[in-house]
Structures are given as structure tokens and as C-alpha cells.
Symmetry: C2
Subunit: 232 residues, 2 copies
DNA sequence: CGGTACGGATTGTTGAGCAATCTCACAAGA
DNA sequence: TCTTGTGAGATTGCTCAACAATCCGTACCG
């Protein structure tokens, strides 16, 4: 062993622990991905027995995995009736956007105070543009979501960030219910670009107004795609 | 049975469902209360076996209860090492107040738009004053917390409300580590009264400035009581 | 047509059990 | 003296099988 002793700073800067994963956590993560990928559609019932045999684990462990997913609000748990992949309603979508209109102005202010944040946002806009150019609208959607995620992370509050992640995750569940992914994500590639320009210019009022417009538009689009016009 | 049918409004106004509780939920709620009441101090280890026999339930059910508590961040779960009542560190207290300074301005704005909210806040201030007069500082603390809880609820966003509840719950855990409950809560009874006056007067800038001062003071007081001055 | 009783399926909970892991005390070595 | 194994005991992670409680759909009955 080398005789050099690690100084105190080096020790206290260690990132806690790598945090191993239990079997339940592994199962939960696998299910989460299946849901995010749309392989498990909203409304699907997840039966304990079926999943236990599919993963070759015990029913009790599956139940633990369900608790973890329910915590993230990806599934709904009804006593004695089982867990279902959550179906986000139109009313909930409206609530989600109401929350975004309330909270995201904080992100705008944070971005205006931090040039690094604006730079990071630029990367997301670029990613969205290239994805759009390649007609990969799922990737474009991811870039759009990341744009806002990064903006809110700039606030520097873990609690706010966690809440916003939650909002975005639920919104993603709503997106899964739509089919026209181009119609869903395409409008926002340009909108994010505009928003970024306002931020880069330091135009606070413009950016705030642009954000509100953006979110109102987004809500309208999502709602219209959620309930395809029955007269069509 | 009476033949009268409840009209739609009455139906939709029903508070969802009384939501029965499973055994695990009951156990979790009992433990939660024990923690909130200080009967289970932060840092205490909760052993599955001991609690299972104490509640006369199975270890598996205890584990489910632990998951529920971990979800509320009241306990910490370390793989293969058990669950402990969470100890909120000074750094976390600072984060909590940073989040409050970031988010609560939204509550001020909401209260200024809603006279009913201001009235509700008045009740909390009164409750705090009477509790203080009776030297019941735990009740005063509860009233103080409720004051801010009500204010944030005025925002009308379930997500924001839930996040703020979380912040307050964690703060309460920090309070449990202190002993001087009078010194902890007394200053805020008057501060809330002042803040209410500014809100009632419609003085937005004054209220916002007062809030920031309030939160900075509160952070300082909590931190000082958390680490009693070693030179004393 | 509305209510109801029945049966299968699914969940809620238990208790025992085993392997993996942690904690802690104690001994061996530098 | 301080560090570094080592092992016993305790605790957790997970499994399995079983049973009770509950839900759902269906057929039956008034």
C-alpha cells in the first residue's frame, strides 16, 4: 500500500455508496422500461402470479417491485384488485400543464442567471433538431423533455427537480396513449429553439411569455391527440 | 331505501373512496405516528423481527410497511443493514430552506389572489397565538407549519402541494433533533402574524421580502439549535 | 329487468426456512 | 499500538406453500 494518506476532503467527497440493487429493484426497473417503451400499455393489469413466473421470482418480491413502481406513480394499486399501468386522464393532463405553468417560470429565471445552463439547453435543442431531421420523433420527444428537465434542474433544488421529474414521467405516460408522435413532438422542436434564443438574449419577459404560450399550446395539442376528434 | 337518486354533482363530489387500509398500511401509519411523536428517535434502527412480533404480524408485512415509510422518506433503507429513522443533516436542512425560498413565493402570489386563503391563514395565526399563550410550543409549531402548508395549497397544484408536504415532513424530522421547542417555534408566531398583515394589505413586494427574511431567519435558528453552540 | 347467489381467479397475509450479508468481538500479525 | 484477518451470531433478502378475504363474471330467479 502506498504510504500517502488520503486527505479529509477526498474522503468526504466520496459519492456515498454505489448503491447495489435488490432483486425487487431489478424487477421494478425492468417493468419500468417495458412501460416506458410502450410494451405494457396503460390500463394493462399486472398480475402478481404471471410476473412472478415470468421473472422466476417469488410473488412477495413482485409485490415489493410493485410498491416501487407505485411510488413513481407508473402503476396504480387497487386493494384486492391488483395493479394496473396508469392511464393518465385528460383532467390529469390539464393538471400537469397547470403545474408546469406554475413552476417552470422558476426554471426560466434560473437559466437567465446561469450561462452554463443556457449552453446545456442549446445541446438539447440541437439534439431535437437532428432527431427531427432524421424523422425520429421519439428521440425528438426525448430531447424536448430533456430541454425542460435541464432547465428546471438549474433551479438547484433537489425537491423541485424530483417533483418535476415526476410530472414529466406522468406526461410521458400520457404520450403513450397517442399515436401521432410526429404531430405530438414536431411543433416543440422549433418552440424550444425560439425559447432558447430569448434566454440567450437575456429577454426575461419575452422568455416568460414565450414559456406560457408554449405550455398552453402543448396542453392543447396533447389533449387533442389524446381524444382524437370524434367527428373526423 | 329512499327512492331519491343523488344527482351527478353529489356523486362527483364524493371524496373518491374511503380507501380502506391494508395491514401493511395500518402498521406504517402507526409507525409514522410514533416517529412524528418523537417516540422513535431519528437514527433508531427498526428491526423487522422485533416489529413483526410487536404488531403480531408477519415479517413480510412489516417489510411492506417499511417500503411505505421509505417512500415518505421517514426512514432510510440500507440493503442488508435494515431501516433506520432518518437523521436529517444540517446540509439537508439548508437544502430544505433553499427549496422553500425558491417555491414559497408562488404561495405568496396565490394568497394575494385569493381572499379566502388569507382568511384561512388568519385562523392558523390565531391558533399559533393561543398555543403560544398556553406555552404549548409543539402546538404552536404545528400551527406555524400549517400556516405555510395552507399558503402553498393555495397554488392549486397537487404536485406542488405534495412536494411541499414532503419538505415540511422532513423539516419536522429535523425539529425532532432539537430540544428547545420554545426557542424553535416562538419567533415564528409573531413572524407569521406580520406576514399575514402584509398579505391582507395586498403589499406584494413587502410580503415577498418578508417571506425571504422569515425563511433565512428560520434556517439560522434551526441550524443553531441543531448544533448547540459548542463554546457555550 | 333488477337483484342475488355461486364459483373461479386474484390478492392479502402468514409462517417457516435458507442463503447472503452485516456487525462485532477477538486473535494474529506488523 | 495499530492494523488486519477470522469466526460466531444476528439480521436481512428472498422463496415457497398455504389459506382467508375479496373481487368479478355469470347464470339464475323473482
Amino acid at each position: 500500500m502506498v504510504s500517502a494518506e488520503p486527505d479529509e476532503d477526498a474522503l468526504s467527497d466520496l459519492p456515498a455508496l454505489p448503491k447495489r440493487a435488490s432483486t425487487a429493484e431489478y424487477a421494478a426497473e425492468t417493468l419500468r422500461r417495458q412501460i416506458a417503451d410502450g410494451k405494457l400499455r396503460p390500463g394493462t393489469q399486472l398480475r402478481e402470479g404471471a410476473i412472478a413466473t415470468a421473472f422466476s421470482i417469488s410473488r412477495n418480491t413482485v409485490r415489493e417491485a410493485f410498491r416501487l413502481l407505485a411510488h413513481k406513480r407508473l402503476v396504480e394499486h387497487a386493494l384486492h384488485r391488483g395493479v394496473y399501468v396508469r392511464e393518465v386522464s385528460a383532467a390529469e393532463v390539464r393538471e400537469l400543464y397547470a403545474t408546469r405553468r406554475l413552476v417552470q417560470p422558476l426554471g426560466i429565471d434560473a437559466a437567465l442567471r446561469d450561462p452554463d445552463c443556457v449552453a446545456a439547453l442549446g445541446e438539447r435543442v440541437e439534439a431535437g433538431a437532428t432527431a427531427a431531421a432524421e424523422d425520429d420523433w421519439d428521440a425528438a420527444g426525448t430531447a424536448n423533455i430533456d430541454f425542460h428537465r435541464v432547465m428546471m434542474a438549474g433551479c438547484g433544488s433537489d425537491h423541485v427537480t424530483a417533483m418535476f421529474e415526476q410530472v414529466l414521467a406522468e406526461l410521458r405516460l400520457a404520450f403513450l396513449l397517442t399515436t401521432d408522435h410526429k404531430g405530438l413532438h414536431a411543433p416543440f422542436v422549433g418552440a424550444n429553439h425560439q425559447l432558447l434564443a430569448l434566454l440567450a438574449a437575456g429577454d426575461r419577459d419575452g422568455a416568460q411569455a414565450g414559456l406560457q404560450r408554449y405550455l398552453l399550446d402543448a396542453e392543447r395539442i396533447v389533449l387533442s391527440l389524446l381524444h382524437p376528434d370524434p367527428t373526423a
